[in-house]
Amino acid sequence: MRTFNQQFLRLVPSGRKLVIGIPFLWLCLFFMLPFFLVMKISFSEAALAIPPYSEIYTYAEQKFNLLLNIGNYTLLGEDELYLSAYLGSLKVALFSTLMCLVIGFPMAYAITKASKEAQNVLMLLIMMPTWTAILIRVYAWMGILSNNGLLNGFLMWIGLTDHPIEILNTNTAVYIGVVYAYLPFMILPLYANLVKHDQSLLEAASDLGSSTFNSFWKITVPLAKNGIIAGCMLVFIPVVGEFVIPELLGGPETLMIGRVLWQEFFNNRDWPVASALAVVMLLILIVPILLFNRSQAKEMEARG
């Protein structure tokens, strides 16, 4: 028993190793390892079984067989649906990121100009919705945008149109929903960056005769670069995979990859194709994700 205890104690890692090891192991097991599994399943074949895919390797009679089925990937290339879904997602993500930037930058800028106490309250007001279910916030828009909803009622009341405009179940509604849902994620890193700026630089510029717009463009924007990158990536990356907003606000013509993946998985029960879709999505997103991580690291260095 005693020797067992000693051996056991030797196995118990030191405090330092534990502190690093627990979160590291958790993230490896529940975040990184699953991606390799997705990759593995994407090479298997759909089968009528539980779970609904075939094993990619077999071992029988001292023969190890590895069977990689690239059919899922060629399917993605051949079928128009998937290609246009990827393009649709990228388009929605790109334009809504730009819209968030155009709306969010002035907002973040205005917040930094407020008093310290007001800044806290304003940031709380900006961030509070992100704690509320995206589902509910999107649902709120469904009532507003529908044919007999408030927006159409308002438009007809002021006489802009005499018949309801179809907004719900179109791409317009998806854009509204995405900008609405992701605007706080743009403002947060922008504000965190802008609030650190040294105001004396702007004063110096204006003393030297620079116009407000000129100093904004030449001083504030370059200084805010990391904040802009972080904000844009925080919007762009999740929007590419967005499911709830296109599902609830979009129409049949709204092809987005998150929605297609969901349908392949839940409706068609085709796990291998869903996995292949996820792998390709990850490949598309890997550059933006690396950009985000780098801007985060830089921002952290700048703060320390």
Partner: protein, 294 residues
């Protein structure tokens, strides 16, 4: 000065863009009319009707349970990760670790959900666990993604902390563990509370991850709401949504209020301590100076 006017205008516009839809939703949840777009007077009947919906109430209880477990685990895990990121400067795989901590923040939920489900299926085949997907698997999924949020919040706080207090404690012979629990934890407590409540709210809200990793019979509240919402706008859902909004607003306000109070009392304590040392050292310069530096 023209741009100031523009950015202020955008701020007001943006805030009303964010809050008007929610306000409208809450107002319409009191609508007596069954038609969601026609106003038929004030009524509480949709709220009263919720209590009779046992399926919905069951999912509410389940969601709250998962959110509690998630908040606790995510704070523990996220704080550890934040501590490693800010205090342990050099170890093998630090870059990978940093990436793993921040990546869940931006990773599309459909990818995380699908990959975790495949992991659980593979684990069930290999080691026989988890036999049934349900509360535990949802908890694991939520903890993984909420821990990233906690890590960001807590590491921001850890970074602005005055290291000298921890160093002083270590110089006086306190073990790292003791320093962490007696010095570091109390100083970062407000951000731990904020992270915990944030995780609670995020877990309560999540639809996509839960849909992937839950099994039959473990429907959470967002899944319940989603399947109803898919079919269109319903007054009952307005009532549920308003209640969720109310709960989240209360939690947010509490986080804000407590962190503000903690900050204020901390500042006051520092100010008082400084005033005291200043006045005392003024009276008895030699003796107190020694005491102050120790």
């Amino acid at each position: 000065m023209k741009r100031f006017g523009f950015s202020k205008f955008m701020l007001v516009f943006g805030l009303s863009f964010i809050y008007l839809p929610m306000l409208i939703l809450v107002i319409y949840s009191f609508n007596a009319s069954k038609l969601v777009t026609v106003w038929g007077g004030w009524s509480f009947k949709w709220y009263a009707g919720l209590l009779d919906n046992s399926q919905l109430m069951g999912s509410v209880v389940r969601s709250l349970e998962i959110a509690c477990y998630t908040a606790i685990a995510a704070v523990a895990l996220g704080t550890l990760a934040a501590f490693v990121l800010t205090r342990v400067t050099r170890f093998k795989g630090r870059t990978l670790f940093g990436g793993l901590v921040t990546a869940p923040l931006v990773m599309p939920e459909v990818i995380t959900g699908l990959s975790l489900l495949l992991l659980f299926v593979a684990m069930a085949q290999m080691i026989g666990w988890p036999m049934e997907r349900g509360i535990v698997t949802i908890w694991i999924a939520h903890t993984t993604f909420c821990a990233a949020y906690v890590a960001v919040v807590v590491s921001a706080r850890l970074r602005e902390l005055d290291l000298s207090i921890e160093e002083a404690a270590m110089d006086l012979g306190a073990k790292p563990f003791k320093v962490f629990f007696l010095i570091t934890i109390p100083m970062i407590a407000p951000s731990l509370a904020a992270g915990g409540m944030m995780s609670f709210a995020l877990s309560l809200d999540d639809l996509v991850l839960a849909s992937f990793v839950s099994g039959p019979g473990s429907t959470t509240l967002p899944m319940e709401v989603f399947s109803a919402v898919r079919l269109g706008v319903k007054p009952e859902i307005n009532a549920v949504a308003s209640l969720i909004l109310l709960a989240v607003s209360i939690v947010t306000f509490m986080v804000w209020y407590f962190s503000r109070r903690a900050e204020a009392s901390r500042k006051r304590a520092i100010q008082e301590a400084m005033d005291q040392t200043a006045s005392e050292s003024w009276q008895q310069p030699k003796k107190q100076m020694v005491g102050a530096t120790a």
